[in-house]
């Protein structure tokens, strides 16, 4: 419930931001002074905590509330001068996971998903400290699952899946304006910090866990098939953004 409320707040905010983006863009023609474009090369580093909320019943085995915690990292480059003002290219990495006990301890599931994506992030810098944005991306996802039914045993059946993933999100970044004092510190003229986050939806091809086996078992094993895990769902992330101009 806690996460739901936080998420709801984030999404409401994002909704307004998304709508606001339209109005800002609509009025941008009349108020060009609002939009502050990066005057030089810029790298962006995002270190965010992430929450994933798939809706499929197949996730029931892994979570009571369908929320999964993790971390989202991003490394971006400002493409304003190369492609389109306000456009950034990103390489994103996200990892979420959960250890879930089921059936009063008869079953333990350790699950983790990692996603690597290439994403395009578009948004204007407004007033030098706000950047609403939209982001789309696509990439590769892998999920790993360990299953424990007997804690005394040294090896556990496990399986890894390989899937395609795509995302669409809206974001907001609040940052400390870059220093504009030629006599001031070079560091503060080139580097700034911000607080940013995204709300969106993650699509992924269904992960088929149909080869759970124990490693190092000399016996012929019949792989366990747990079925398809549908991780399509909402997500949000929130955390630190570092922007470096060079």
């Amino acid at each position: 419930m806690k996460f739901n409320r936080i998420s709801a707040g984030m999404m409401v905010l994002a909704g307004f931001l998304g709508a606001g983006l339209v109005s800002v863009e609509a009025s941008a023609a009349e108020s060009e002074s609002l939009v502050v474009s990066a005057p030089q090369n810029e790298l962006i580093v995002e270190i965010h905590s992430a929450m994933l909320h798939p809706m499929s019943d197949s996730v029931d085995a892994l979570s009571d509330d369908h929320w999964f915690e993790g971390v989202s990292l991003g490394l971006g480059y400002d493409l304003s001068y190369l492609v389109l003002p306000g456009l950034r290219g990103f390489v994103l990495y996200e990892a979420v996971g959960k250890s879930q006990e089921r059936f009063d301890g008869a079953l333990d599931l350790d699950w983790m998903r990692q996603v690597v994506m290439v994403a395009a992030d578009y948004g204007p810098d407004l007033w030098g400290f706000v950047r609403p944005s939209v982001r789309v991306g696509a990439g590769y996802a892998t999920q790993k699952l360990h299953l424990t039914t007997n804690r005394a045993e040294s090896t556990r059946p496990s399986d890894r899946t390989h899937d395609l993933a795509a995302t669409g999100a809206v974001g907001l970044e609040l940052y400390i304006p870059f220093g504009d004092d030629p006599a001031g510190s070079l560091f503060f003229n080139k580097v700034t910090l911000g607080l940013g986050g995204h709300v969106g939806y993650m699509f992924q091809t269904a992960a088929e866990f149909d080869e759970l086996t124990r490693s190092g078992d000399s016996w012929q094993q019949e792989p366990l098939q747990l079925g398809a895990l549908d991780m399509n769902g909402l997500y949000w992330n929130l955390g630190l953004t570092v922007r470096v101009r060079f």
């Binding site: 339209v22 800002v24 089921r102 039914t149 809206v170 098939q225 079925g227 909402l234």
Partner: protein, 541 residues
């Protein structure tokens, strides 16, 4: 360019946000079943002709498991059957072809016809009550349902004396009949079909405190349906709980057109014989007459067997407990009885009836193996040689002792050996087990771990150990054991279709299938967590 693209992307962002918000509002709190966080409830296997059935109460499913050989390769085939709501108990018909599941939630009996092995089809019988005990007629004509009274959780109001009667003679009915007994049934026992007065009859007995209720399954009126037989004069008397009942429906030349029910209780020194015969009077209001005899059974009777002995007649053999282990033979026709010492050193626990072909004889002879779980001595009784009204039998001729290395935990007969072999399980982990030759009355001690389960196939026995990851195959004639590896200790063992199926401990279904002819690792296959198969696709109740 900035502005036009920005408008489109801004609109996309707004759409994503609004859709996300909408989904959040409509379905962000998924209803995950509480069952995920409750203990996994899986039943012990119910063995059928060629498959095992496990009732998975958590998933409301039955798991069917079958081992075999496919082109010489070991394999395990499993599948699921959906049950109704809150399945409670499961049973099979004697021939293994019908599977019955009581669904306590929707108060139905699910009837699965397993004669067509790949069929999921089943029929439901409306019960009207959430019975938690099921008794299946060995002849497959009736199913009786009752309450144990053990579970009080969630019980608002239920009639513990009520039983449900499902008549399967004309197919699976839509609804069950029910009847209210005079007392709560502790157990229900079916009599095999028999004829009285030229008419086929079916009876069952309900065992209640100080009372037996005869249930006439073919009765067409309420008066004949239930017949109460009190075991005490008054309900104020000390309660006598029936411990064992045995129907004797064999033809009795000394009392033609009668059948008997023998009742052994936890008190007293007698066996109650309930004799059933057709009503003699033409104007009788009931079709069956019932009379009662008390047969002297010696001190502290603990177990009995009805023996139909050639040229002797029907005899009851009763084990007597207490400080001095004894047995009592009762001549049912005359009511005479005689009590004899048993050559064991503790109160007897159980008896097994078997037939064996004595050396030099052409006729199989009935014998009784009596044992105590606290004595390494077991006794083999030759009831045909015992004269009830004569002197005591000579030890060593009519009663012989077999000395085991340790007291048996239980003894099972290897029926497929012609009743000439039995296996004694021992309690302690390092006590191994014993192969009993019931023809020569000798025991072969097998040193090693204690067995957890055992099965027979032809002249071979297959056993698994609760504390050792091994399978033992032994020859019933010689007792010679051969040990094979398993991936883990075994809990149960079965032989199906040329394959040995070992179930390992654990609730989630762990099995090893081995070739019964050569059960080695190379040709074996290991199956883990079979009951969790397709877990992500299960919708738990």
């Amino acid at each position: 360019m900035w502005t036009q693209t920005g408008k489109w992307l801004g609109a996309l962002g707004a759409t994503v946000a609004v859709v996300s918000l909408g989904m959040l509002g409509t379905g962000c709190d998924p209803e995950v079943s509480d069952v995920w966080n409750q203990p996994f409830q899986i039943s012990a296997p119910v063995a059928g002709a060629d498959e095992l059935a496990y009732l998975n109460r958590s998933f409301e499913q039955v798991h069917l498991v079958r081992a075999g050989l496919d082109d010489g390769n070991t394999e395990l085939v499993w599948r699921r059957l959906e049950t109704g709501s809150e399945p409670g108990v499961m049973a099979r018909s004697a021939d293994g072809n019908m599977l019955f599941v009581v669904n306590e939630g929707d108060k139905t009996l699910g009837v699965y016809d397993r004669s067509t092995l790949d069929s999921d089809a089943h029929e439901s019988v409306v019960l009207g009550s959430p019975y938690d005990r099921i008794s299946v007629d060995p002849e497959g004509e009736f199913v009786l349902l009752s309450f144990t009274g053990a579970n009080t959780q969630g019980v608002v109001a239920r009639n513990l004396n009520e039983i449900g009667i499902v008549d399967l003679r004309g197919g699976v009915p839509e609804t069950a009949e029910f009847a209210t007994l005079f007392n709560r049934a502790q157990d229900l026992v079916f009599a095999p079909g028999f004829e009285l007065g030229g008419k086929r009859e079916r009876l069952a007995a309900a065992l209640s405190p100080s009372e037996i209720t005869l249930i006439d399954l073919l009765a067409d009126n309420e008066l004949d349906r239930l017949r109460s037989v009190p075991l005490t004069i008054s309900q104020a008397d000390e309660v006598r709980n029936p411990r064992q009942v045995v129907f004797d429906t064999s033809v009795n030349p000394s009392a033609p057109d009668t059948i008997s029910l023998y009742v052994l209780t936890d008190r007293g020194q007698d066996i109650t014989q309930i004799v059933v015969q057709p009503s003699l009077r033409a104007d009788a209001s009931r079709k069956l007459d019932i009379s009662i005899n008390q047969l002297a059974a010696g001190p502290q009777p603990v177990k009995m067997a009805v023996l139909d002995l050639p040229e002797v007649g029907t005899r009851l053999l009763v084990l007597n407990g207490g400080q001095q282990p004894r047995f009592t033979m009762i001549d049912v026709a005359s009511g005479e009885s005689a009590t004899f010492d048993l050559p064991i050193t503790a109160s007897p626990s159980d008896l097994l009836v078997f037939k064996t072909l004595p050396q030099g004889s052409e006729r199989a002879e009935t014998r009784v193996l009596a044992y105590s779980t606290n004595s390494p001595l077991t006794a083999v009784i030759r009831p045909e040689s015992i004269t009830v009204s004569g002197e005591a039998p000579t030890a060593g001729r009519t009663v012989e002792a077999i000395r085991l290395r340790q007291a048996p935990q239980r003894i099972v007969l290897a029926d497929e050996s012609g009743g000439e072999r039995a296996i004694a399980f021992h309690r302690s982990n390092q006590d191994g087990f014993s192969v009993l030759n019931l023809r020569t009355n000798r025991a072969i001690p097998i040193q090693g771990y204690a067995l957890s389960d055992l099965t027979f196939e032809g002249s071979l026995g297959y056993g698994v150990f609760s504390n050792s990851p091994h399978l033992v195959r032994f020859d019933l004639q010689t007792g010679h054991p051969t040990v094979f590896d398993l991936p883990a200790a075994g809990q149960r063992v079965f032989v199906q279709d040329g394959a040995v199926l070992v179930q390992h401990p654990g609730q989630t279904g762990r099995f090893t299938v081995l070739d019964a002819t050569e059960p080695v690792v190379k040709t074996a296959r290991h199956y883990d967590n079979v009951f969790l198969n397709r877990l992500f696709e299960q919708e738990l109740p």
